[in-house]
């Protein structure tokens, strides 16, 4: 769990241990090709723990003070140098002095506002991190980071209408589709029906795609990135008029996150259901519908 960045010859080792680190839920995140388990926190939770500093045997560490910061950052990939800290909390751990032997400091950030969720997108990243810094006059400061993940639950929406629509190309194809909800939680199941009102083209198959549309920046600097997260075959072969094809798509196997709109004025993430019909000449006919994703408390 120790992760050392930027210290080639550290004079001491820093260990951050969270108060309920063992019992807390964790998620596996991939970082630099390694999978690490990272604890999960929710908005307005108290983050507390201990920080131990242990100098290398027989050495002492002089410092100008030790502090721990809780940072919430948004990082744009096209603008790597810029971090936007939307949250920044600091706790002083020690006054300037020297550490000769192992020393442990308790810390606590109580009821921290963490309104945004951790997010790893195509062009943007939102992360939370605990940063321990030992300030020194020479040899540079010693810094230690501890990432953690924030996930926020939403209550089930009070209004959750189904999506129902009739679309078509005149005298060619008319379909009516229906998805049971417009808002889905991450482990939800999309249930629906595609009803063929008119079929004059030779359809080969029909897929349902889940697409994520991530837009970053604002104004003329807006970047939009669309990814297809799921491609699910609904139908094989050519239907005739009057056929209705069932839809049942389990969302759990896919790595989805809730819909984010305008996070700190930096980015938005939206989800779409894209119904694609492919004809025998591989022409695609599609209709995209936005769905709202939310994270449902797992206990509820």
């Amino acid at each position: 769990m120790n992760y050392i960045i930027g210290a080639f010859k550290p004079a001491c080792s820093i260990t951050i241990s969270l108060a309920d680190g063992n019992s807390r839920k964790q998620v596996a995140l991939k970082e630099n090709g390694k999978t690490v388990l990272i604890p999960i926190f929710h908005n307005q939770e108290t983050i507390s723990g201990k920080i131990s500093i242990e100098p290398i045997l027989g050495k002492k560490v002089e410092h100008n003070g030790i502090k721990v910061e809780l940072l919430g950052q948004i990082e744009m990939y096209f603008d790597r140098s810029n971090f936007y800290d939307f949250t920044s909390l600091v706790r002083e751990l020690d006054i300037p002095g020297e550490i000769c032997e192992r020393k442990t400091f308790p810390f606590e950030f109580s009821t921290v506002e963490m309104p945004y969720e951790t997010y790893n997108g195509a062009n943007v990243r939102l992360r939370y991190v605990l940063k321990v810094s030992i300030c020194r006059n020479y040899g540079g400061g010693i810094v230690e980071y501890q990432d953690f993940v924030v996930q926020n639950y939403s209550p089930p929406p009070s209004i959750n209408n189904s999506i129902k629509m009739e679309v078509g190309i005149e005298d060619c194809l008319h379909i009516e589709f229906e998805y049971n909800k417009s808002k889905y939680h991450l482990k939800d199941v999309i249930v629906g029906k595609i009803y063929f009102l008119l079929v004059r083209i030779k359809i080969k198959n029909m897929d349902l795609e889940i697409r994520r549309r991530e837009s970053t920046g604002s104004g003329s600097n807006t970047h939009v990135e669309t990814e297809t997260l799921a491609k699910f075959e609904l139908m094989d072969g050519a239907p005739v008029r009057g056929e209705s094809i069932p839809v049942r798509l389990f969302l759990s196997p896919y790595e989805l996150a809730p819909t984010y709109s305008n996070i700190n004025n930096k980015f938005s993430v939206k989800y779409y259901l894209n119904l694609v019909l492919v004809d025998e000449e591989d022409r695609r006919y599609f209709k995209q519908q936005e769905i709202n994703m939310y994270r449902l408390s797992e206990t509820s």
């Binding site: 139908m235 094989d236 072969g237 069932p246 196997p253």
Partner: protein
């Protein structure tokens, strides 16, 4: 060439598919062995992806499917074990649905679904309903059919049937039925759709391919019939109407024909009987091109067999008025399908007829009604020429004959002859033949003139030339036919002589229309039949004398004379002569001298005027002699006249050996053992001497023409006559004359000029042996022979 290429390619694709399937199956097995659910799902899905191919024909696809099927059995066992290891079945049911491709997903779903039902964690009906609903995702006909067939296969033993362990609350049978019906409906839709997809030029090919797939669809009906809970009530109210609805609405010729047949074959007879109306009502609604007649025929065949299974089921038939319904339905079908070939119409009626014969053997009116309907359909058309139709008509008309084994019944059917009218000449003949054969086979006795009249009217194709049929050659078939008619005439019999006479008159009336070609075959049996009657009357006269009968031999003889006269117009004088002689003999038995004399006269006239061929003359003269010899009715004067004539004829034969033989045969005319009045030894001797003279003349002629004497055969024959009369005690035949004759023969045979003739040698040897034998026997005859020494 092109199709060869396709077949080759197909082989290639199939083997590629099998290879892919096996490879993934291998990885799947590894995953199964290591209880790795995730990998098992992954590789099984990949394996099943091979079934997504569109390149294989149904036949090849089936091969691939069967391999996948086997693998899925293993997977199913694994799933079952997995649930035992704590993996919840519900979870598994969800997990398999994560597969991205629909076909593998649904195969896996059905497989887990099967385990799900077995686990009883959810009611079977819910799982089944879900499965059958989800399968809608496959709209490709071939793949959909196989998937649904797989579903049907894995669910067969898990239907919530009555008595099944999966039976839930009340009415769950309904769910089972609903499930199968839905699967059936969807499969049929896919199957029908197959016909309409793809290029038009491959239409026939598709038809053929569909034929290969039909059992997949039909299997559902079989499953339905196996559900215990489908009782008559449910069948009547739900199953049949639903199935028929699908059949009618799919408007597909192939499907309609096959499924109707399927329904008829898989469900029990009594169900059909009770739902006859529903089933029959569907028939007129089928496409015009559907072979409804075959369908209905099969139905009637089944019902007939059912009726035949035991008399206890017959009341059911009466109760539902099966006949009326069938009859009605057939009428409607024929009406609905305007261009149904006439063969089809006849087939239908033939089947109905068979059914009726089985169920209502006593209701001739029904049968006549059927025939009447058939006549209605047939009349006003050209005479039938199509071979299929005529074959069916023959079947139609033969059925009652076979059933009743009695032509009487058929003769009572007023429409029977009317159908015969509709046949073309060939078929008419064929049918007539069938009738005749039937009569002979069953030895039916037809005993009234009225029936005979009807019968002969029926078989007139055999009796006379129908219009347009005038070819003259006598082929084998014709002879065979006429021989049959002849046999038929012999079979007509009535115990009442008066009726019999009427019968004979009727037959006569008919056969006289037959023309010269037939008379030689038909007249003789009639004559003999008449003579038989004469003899019967004769016997009766002895026992019942003084009875006032209008049927007298005299009358019959008149009739016979007239009949034989018909023969004289055709050049078969020897036949007529024979018949006259037969008649004469019958008249002789009746003591009717003038009649007998008249017959002889006729015979003689024929002999003189018509018989010119020398060979025929020889046989005829022998016939005359033979008959005359037996006549006892004649007075001296008549007999003299006749014998005189006969000897005269004999002596006038062309070839000398024939003359010789005829003359010595004449000797018998003067010596009758049992008639004292006819024993004229002088004339016997005269005949024999005369024949000896002729034999001599023969030898001389042989000497003169060939330089060698002829065979002594004639002499030996004459010797035998001598011996005969000697034995009979004709005093004019002396021992000396016999001995002289033997000597003469020996001389003839030993002469240098005589050719060796083994036949003559043997004949002489046995004649001598006979003499010796008689000597050895002793007694009066032996003593007589002792006198002969050589």
């Amino acid at each position: 060439m092109i199709s060869d290429g396709v077949v080759e390619d197909e082989e290639k694709w199939l083997s590629a598919g099998i290879a892919g399937l096996q490879q993934n199956a291998f990885y799947m097995h590894r995953a199964l062995d290591s209880n790795n659910l995730k990998d098992a799902l992954k590789y099984s899905a990949q394996m099943l992806s091979e079934l997504r191919t569109s390149r294989l024909s149904p036949h090849k696809y089936y091969e691939l499917y069967m391999r996948a099927f086997d693998e899925l059995r293993k997977l199913e066992i694994f799933f079952k074990e997995e649930t035992g290891r704590g993996c919840s079945i519900v979870e598994l049911y969800e997990l398999v649905q994560h597969a991205g491709n629909i076909l593998p997903r649904l195969y896996l779903l059905c497989t887990v679904g099967s385990v799900y039902i077995k686990s009883k964690e959810a009611p079977a009906k819910d799982v089944l309903k879900d499965l059958v609903e989800m399968c809608r995702g496959i709209q490709h006909p071939l793949r959909g059919l196989f998937l649904r067939s797989y579903l049907s296969q894995v669910s067969r033993d898990k239907l919530p049937d009555i008595g099944s362990e999966y039976e839930g609350d009340a009415d769950t049978v309904m769910d089972a039925v609903e499930f199968v019906l839905q699967n059936f409906t969807e499969m049929n839709k896919l199957w029908v759709r197959m016909q309409h997809q793809g290029p038009a030029r491959e239409k026939d090919k598709r038809g053929k391919e569909r034929g290969e797939l039909r059992d997949l669809v039909g299997k559902n009906l079989h499953v339905l019939s196996q559900i215990e809970g489908v009782d008559l009530e449910m069948y009547k109210e739900i199953v049949l109407p639903r199935v028929l609805e699908q059949v009618v609405n799919c408007k597909d010729e192939l499907a309609q024909y096959y499924l109707m047949d399927c329904i008829i074959q898989v469900f029990p007879d009594e169900y059909h009987l009770q739902t006859l109306e529903t089933l029959l009502n569907a028939c007129p609604q089928l496409q015009a091109s559907v072979d409804v007649e075959t369908v209905l025929s099969r139905l009637m065949e089944r019902l007939s067999n059912y009726a035949a299974s035991g008399s206890e089921v017959l009341p059911e038939f009466f109760q539902v008025e099966a006949f009326a319904k069938l009859n009605n339905a057939i009428g409607k079908v024929i009406e609905a399908q305007e261009n149904m070939p006439i063969a089809g119409v006849v087939t239908l009626y033939a089947s109905l007829l068979k059914f009726t014969l089985q169920v209502h053997p006593d209701r001739l009116d029904y049968i006549d009604q059927i025939l009447g309907a058939c006549v209605k359909k047939l009349s006003g058309r050209e005479k039938l020429d199509e071979s299929k139709a005529t074959k069916q008509i023959v079947a139609l008309l033969s059925a009652p004959l076979e059933k009743y084994k009695d032509i009487d019944t058929a003769l009572n059917l007023s429409n029977y002859p009317r159908i015969m009218e509709c046949l073309n000449d060939g078929t008419h003949k064929e049918m007539a033949n069938v009738i005749v054969q039937n009569i002979m086979k069953n030895k039916t006795c037809i005993s009234t003139a009225e029936k005979v009249d009807a019968l002969f009217e029926l078989i007139k194709g055999l009796i006379r030339d129908l219009d347009g049929d005038t070819h003259d050659e006598l082929d084998e078939d014709f002879i065979e036919e006429q021989n049959s008619v002849a046999r038929l005439i012999q079979m007509l019999h009535s115990d009442d002589p008066e009726e019999m006479l009427k019968v004979i008159q009727t037959v006569r009336k008919h056969i006289l229309t037959g023309g010269r070609k037939r008379h030689p075959y038909t007249v003789p049996p009639l004559i003999f039949s008449s003579l038989k009657l004469v003899r019967r009357l004769e016997r009766q006269d002895e026992s019942v004398s003084g009875d006032e009968v209008s049927t007298t031999p005299k009358k019959i003889f008149q009739l016979v004379t007239q009949t034989i006269e018909a023969l004289t117009s055709i050049p078969v004088p020897e036949l007529a002569l024979g018949l006259y002689l037969q008649c004469a003999e019958a008249a002789n038995d009746c003591d009717l001298e003038p009649v007998a004399y008249e017959f002889f006269t006729q015979a003689y006239i024929l002999y003189e005027e018509e018989i010119t061929d020398s060979k025929t003359q020889v046989t005829s003269i022998h016939l005359i002699i033979g008959t005359l010899q037996r006549m006892h009715v004649f007075g001296v004067e008549n007999r003299d006249a006749l014998t005189h004539k006969a000897t005269g004829y004999s002596a006038k034969l062309l070839k000398k050996p024939d003359q010789c033989r005829a003359v010595y045969a004449c000797s018998h005319l003067f010596w009758l053992d049992d008639h004292d009045s006819i024993r004229d030894g002088e004339r016997v001797l005269l005949c024999l001497k005369r024949s000896l003279r002729i034999a001599n003349a023969v030898q001389q002629m042989a000497n003169a023409t060939r330089g060698s004497s002829g065979s002594a055969l004639l002499f030996i024959e004459i010797l035998n006559k001598y011996l005969y009369f000697y034995e009979k005690g004709v005093s004019q035949i002396t021992v000396e004359s016999i001995q002289d004759l033997i000597k003469l023969i020996r001389n003839e045979m030993q002469g240098d000029a005589s050719p060796s003739d083994p036949a003559a040698d043997a004949f002489l040897a046995s004649t001598l042996l006979y003499i010796q034998f008689q000597k050895d026997k002793g007694g009066a005859v032996g003593d007589k022979y002792m006198l002969i020494t050589d």
